[in-house]
Structures are given as structure tokens and as C-alpha cells.
């Protein structure tokens, strides 16, 4: 029998649907894999063994009755611990929610269950999704399966590490400034930030509401598309959810082709701060796209140089407001309530004890940027930059169908290297942030290993809002061409754990 953990999600669904293996066998194989390797990787914060086996059993029963199963029925998935799960702990990587059991499911959680997808557990993340390395988790870091001494990206490092270590063929992430795409890039996996509003935010713990977007993570472009279709679509419970048909992402992923497409290379992404091996693989990807029949155009987006500063004003500002709900009154941690202190004192003591350093830094920074004397210079200017970035994208997409860039300036850095230098950490999101500010769609797909360190490099593809299908069309073409050239998927070069 083939190792069930090595199959793609599409293959797994087929194995289950045709009865070559039961959903319970598939789930058990992944739970065994988690048991064997996750002590080293630490991708999961909570493994729901019983729930996973129950969900798998339900799929097997439906199949036995002859019911038609969905395209991902019986496929296991690792869910980022930012989505509420009824009856299952949800911590957001924070001590302030340690032990909290949500009384309801997020819309994403509900749609996964409805699709017959088997949720294995909840994955590690930077606290409140604030970070690029998963080192800001209150529950300890996650190792990159390519090199356990290095970061798996962040904030969704648990999800990317689970995929790259074959603990799950599918995962869910959230992307506020790159938290799906950057982890995908540094682990040699695929990650997609859908168009803002494409996937419901209901039950997804809020960090920066105008930027946060849930999306699919997988080992192949087709698997990401299948998952995208399972979770996307209008949700009346999220007022920013787009009320329009989901772009035909699966069809696009099955028809990878760039012939005749105009593809823009963003001039501003490159140069100082970019690792040589990352640029080498990126330039090879551009050459590949040209060979595959795309027309390559250099595009200038001059405002992108202000994207990072604008992001680090807008996101903390929204976070400082969103995180005010953690007041120790209705749920979560409460510290110092000894009968002598006021509610306000208890709130301050609880937040001091419950939040980690990065969360505190961002709350203070956001409070500063929103204060009356500084509002215009900081938050107000950042909002103007946001307009300029959207205009740069509009002008670019008037000329080209998609844009490409490296997903991250460097490969995975060592755990501990940037924890005391927030600005260095923030640079990991240099290329991913503009898409969050403009609300368009973007993907990271593996494009090789950097020669100097043998670590994965990601190619970022950016499409206009509501043209998510273009990401999959281009991503699938790149994936097929590279896999053909390498003779196998990139992930097969990762060392055994």
C-alpha cells in the first residue's frame, strides 16, 4: 500500500471515493504521521484525534450509503488556530485565549466540515497573526521541515510546516501582510491570498480587518484551487464578503497555460536586501514564463516603496482597536481579580500578562499613530499611500494580465536571528504587503532552491481583484514546467525527518 500521507489532496479524495482506502484509514495515517514527527516540527497546537476520526467515519458512512461525495471529502486538513472551532480550543497563538473553547464555528470551519474535509487539528501561528516567523507564538516556535533550526515563515508557520512535513495535504491560513504566501515560499509549498472579501472572515479572530483574508494552503496548485472553491463565496455573516460568483479557480488550475498572456515584472522588487539565490531563481522563472509563451513586460510601481511603512501604521492602528475586546470580562484570561482591584485595573493586568511583546508593540504603535497630534502625519498619510498603491496596480493591470515577483526577499532565516530586531523581521513581507493594501489576489508557488543554502524560493503571482483564476492558470503552468524540469515535485528534495 502506498503511503497515504504522500498523496495530493486530489489523489486522496479519489482514493476515498473509489474505496481504495477508507477516510478513516487516511485520517489515521495522518494522525500517525503527526504522532511520529510533530514533536520535532511543532506544527500543531491541538490535535483533535477523536473529532478527525468521527468526521472520517461520517464520510465513509455516506459513501457506503451511495451518497455523492464532494471533491475533497475525506481529505485531512490542518486549520490555523485563528478560526473558531466549536468545542475545540482556539488560542490564536496567545496566552490571553489559553483554554478558550469557542461556542461556535467560523464560516470557514463550517464550510470545511460541510465539504467532508477532515480537520486534524489547529496549527501554530504568531500571536494574533503578528509576525513572519511563528516565533511570536506564546506556545513556542515551529521548525521548518527543510531545516528544523530555521523558521517556517509566519504567521501561518504551523500550516506551512504541516504541509511540508506530510502531516496534512491541505491547510488553511490567513494573510494580512503575507502570512499565507511567505510561509508557503520558505517551505516549498503553495499558498493563496484570495481577493479581499473572497473568503468569509466570520469567526476568524480579527487582527487588521481591512487587510485580513483567509485562504488555501496546499502542496499543489490544483489542491489549493479545490480548497479555495470549498471555502470561498458570499457569507451574509461577513459584511465585507463579496456577493458575486467565485472565480473558476479549479478549471484554471486544470488548464495551466500562459501562452499569449502579458506578465509584468515589478521593477521595484529586487536589488539591495534581496538574496542572490532568490533573484536567480526568480529570473529563471521569468525566463520560463517567456519560454512558455508569455510576453514579459517590465512594470514600475513607484509607490510600492512606501507599502511597508504604510502597512506598519495601518495594521497596528486597526489591531489596537480590534484587540480592545480582550478586556478580561467576557471570555479568555483574567488576572489579578482579588476583590480589591477595579475592572479597569484587572483589564490592564490581564492584557499585560496575556499579550506577548510583538502584540504589545503593535498596540502601542497603533495607539500612537491614531492619537490626535499624530493622526494626519501617520495614519492619514498611510491611507494616502494606500490609494497610490492601488493606483499603481490599476495602471499595471491596464497593461498586463498578472504581475510576478519573488514572494520573499530571502529564504528561511534561522530561528532567533530576527526576534530582537522588529524592523528586520518586517522586511520579510516587503513583496507581499502591496496586495493586502490594494485587496487583490496573490499566490506563492515553488520555483526552486536557492543555490547558496539549498532552501526553497517562492514565485509570487499577483492578479487583479476577482481575477483569482489567473493565479491558478499561471501557477499551474509554472508548477507543471518546473516539476517536469526537476523530474519530481520540489518537496521531494526535503530531508527526511
Amino acid at each position: 500500500m502506498t503511503d497515504l500521507t504522500r498523496l495530493t489532496a486530489a489523489e486522496t479524495a479519489d482514493v476515498v471515493a473509489t474505496g481504495k482506502a477508507s477516510a478513516v484509514e487516511v485520517a489515521q495515517a495522518h494522525l500517525d504521521r503527526i504522532g511520529a514527527v510533530d514533536e520535532k516540527v511543532h506544527a500543531f497546537l491541538h490535535v483533535d484525534t477523536e473529532g478527525a476520526l468521527d468526521a472520517a467515519r461520517a464520510v465513509d458512512e455516506r459513501r457506503a450509503k451511495g451518497e455523492k461525495l464532494g471533491p475533497l471529502a475525506g481529505v485531512p486538513l490542518a486549520l490555523k488556530d485563528i478560526f473558531t472551532t466549536k468545542g475545540i480550543p482556539t488560542t490564536v497563538g496567545s496566552k490571553i485565549l489559553d483554554g478558550w473553547i469557542p461556542p461556535y464555528d467560523a464560516t470557514v470551519t463550517k464550510r470545511l466540515k460541510d465539504a467532508g474535509i477532515v480537520i486534524l487539528g489547529k496549527t501554530n501561528m504568531d500571536e494574533f497573526a503578528m509576525g513572519s516567523s511563528t516565533e511570536n507564538s506564546a506556545y513556542g516556535p515551529t521548525g521548518n521541515p527543510w531545516d528544523l533550526t530555521r523558521i517556517p515563515g509566519g504567521s501561518g508557520g504551523g500550516s506551512s510546516a504541516a504541509l511540508a512535513s506530510y502531516q496534512a495535504p491541505l491547510a488553511i491560513g490567513t494573510d494580512t501582510g503575507g502570512s499565507i504566501r511567505q510561509p508557503a515560499a520558505v517551505t516549498g509549498t503553495v499558498g493563496v491570498k484570495p481577493t479581499y472579501g473572497g473568503v468569509s472572515r466570520y469567526g476568524m479572530v480579527a487582527f487588521s480587518s481591512s487587510l485580513d483574508q483567509g485562504g488555501p494552503c496546499a502542496r499543489t496548485v490544483l489542491d489549493a484551487a479545490l480548497l479555495h472553491e470549498a471555502i470561498a463565496g458570499h457569507d451574509p455573516l461577513d459584511s465585507t464578503s463579496i456577493d458575486a460568483p467565485v472565480p473558476a479557480v479549479v478549471e484554471a488550475a486544470r488548464n495551466g497555460n500562459v501562452k499569449g498572456m502579458r506578465i509584468g515584472v515589478v521593477k521595484e522588487f529586487g536589488g539591495e536586501g534581496y538574496q542572490a539565490g532568490v533573484m536567480q531563481r526568480f529570473n529563471e522563472s521569468v525566463e520560463l514564463l517567456r519560454e512558455l509563451g508569455a510576453e514579459i513586460v517590465e512594470i514600475s510601481c513607484p509607490s510600492f516603496k512606501l507599502a511597508l511603512p504604510a502597512y506598519y501604521l495601518i495594521a497596528p492602528s486597526e489591531a489596537s482597536s480590534n484587540l480592545a475586546r480582550f478586556d478580561a470580562m467576557r471570555y479568555g484570561l483574567r488576572v489579578g481579580d482579588d476583590g480589591t482591584k477595579s475592572a479597569e485595573e484587572v483589564t490592564a493586568l490581564t492584557r499585560e500578562a496575556g499579550f506577548g511583546d510583538e502584540v504589545k508593540r503593535r498596540i502601542i504603535l497603533g495607539t500612537y499613530a491614531l492619537s490626535s497630534g499624530y493622526y494626519d502625519a501617520y495614519y492619514g498619510s498611510a491611507q494616502k499611500v494606500r490609494t497610490l498603491i492601488s493606483r499603481d496596480f490599476e495602471a499595471a493591470f491596464g497593461t498586463v494580465d498578472v504581475l510576478v515577483s519573488p514572494t520573499t526577499p530571502t529564504t528561511a532565516f534561522p530561528i532567533g536571528e530576527r526576534v530582537d530586531d522588529p524592523m528586520a523581521m518586517y522586511l520579510a513581507d516587503l513583496c507581499t504587503i502591496p496586495s493586502n493594501l490594494a485587496g487583490n489576489a496573490a499566490m506563492s508557488v515553488p520555483c526552486g532552491l536557492a543555490p547558496e543554502d539549498g532552501l526553497p524560493v517562492g514565485l509570487q503571482i499577483i492578479a487583479p481583484a476577482m481575477a483569482d483564476d489567473r493565479l491558478y492558470r499561471v501557477g499551474a503552468a509554472v508548477e507543471a514546467a518546473f516539476t517536469g524540469r526537476w523530474g519530481h515535485p520540489l518537496l521531494e528534495e526535503a530531508p527526511a525527518l
Binding site: Y196, G332, Y378, M423
Partner: protein, 98 residues
């Protein structure tokens, strides 16, 4: 652009309900000074005649009919409460003695 002082961090900590420790004030003041120095570049566009964008989507209010529909029970809503009494959240003292 002015930097940020230890006293300002202490004030912002109080505004954001964070009981910051002394060593945190030193640490954060130093780090935030660097971060603010770096992000202040956005003010390069401060004078420009550009409308601000608060959100990528054109937002409109979403309404639904005001009908009774299933919701959490009181027990479910209180299930995460640090303290409860008589189907209510029990909180520390909010108002002064007099």
C-alpha cells in the same frame, strides 16, 4: 519627525490598558523609536492631494430583516466567562465606592 520617549510609551500603555513593566518601557521605547523612524516616510505624501483609502472595497451597509433566529444560549454565551453569576458575566468593581 520626533522620536518616541519612555514617558510617551508609558502614556500609550495606559491608554491601551497595558500595565507595562519598567524594563518593558525601556525596551519598547528603544524599538518603537526605530520603527517610527522607519514608517515616518509615509509623510512624504502628506501634502499631496490624494484621497485616503480606508478600505480596499467600496463598503456599503449590509442589512438583514429584523427576525428572531437561532443564536447562542445563555449558557453557551457564558461558557468562556472568567466568572459568572445568575446567567450574567461577573466583573470586578466598575464604579467607585461613593
Amino acid at each position: 519627525m520626533p522620536g518616541i520617549t519612555r514617558e510617551e510609551v508609558a502614556h500609550l500603555g495606559r491608554l491601551s490598558r497595558l500595565e507595562l513593566k519598567d524594563e518593558e518601557l525601556d525596551h519598547f521605547a528603544e524599538q518603537l523609536d526605530v520603527i517610527i523612524g522607519a514608517v515616518a516616510r509615509v509623510s512624504e505624501v502628506a501634502g499631496e492631494d490624494v484621497p485616503p483609502t480606508s478600505h480596499a472595497l467600496p463598503l456599503t451597509n449590509v442589512m438583514r430583516p429584523d427576525e428572531v433566529r437561532p443564536s447562542l444560549t445563555a449558557a453557551e454565551a457564558l461558557s468562556g466567562a472568567p466568572a459568572q453569576e445568575q446567567q450574567r458575566f461577573k466583573v470586578p468593581q466598575i464604579l467607585g465606592e461613593d
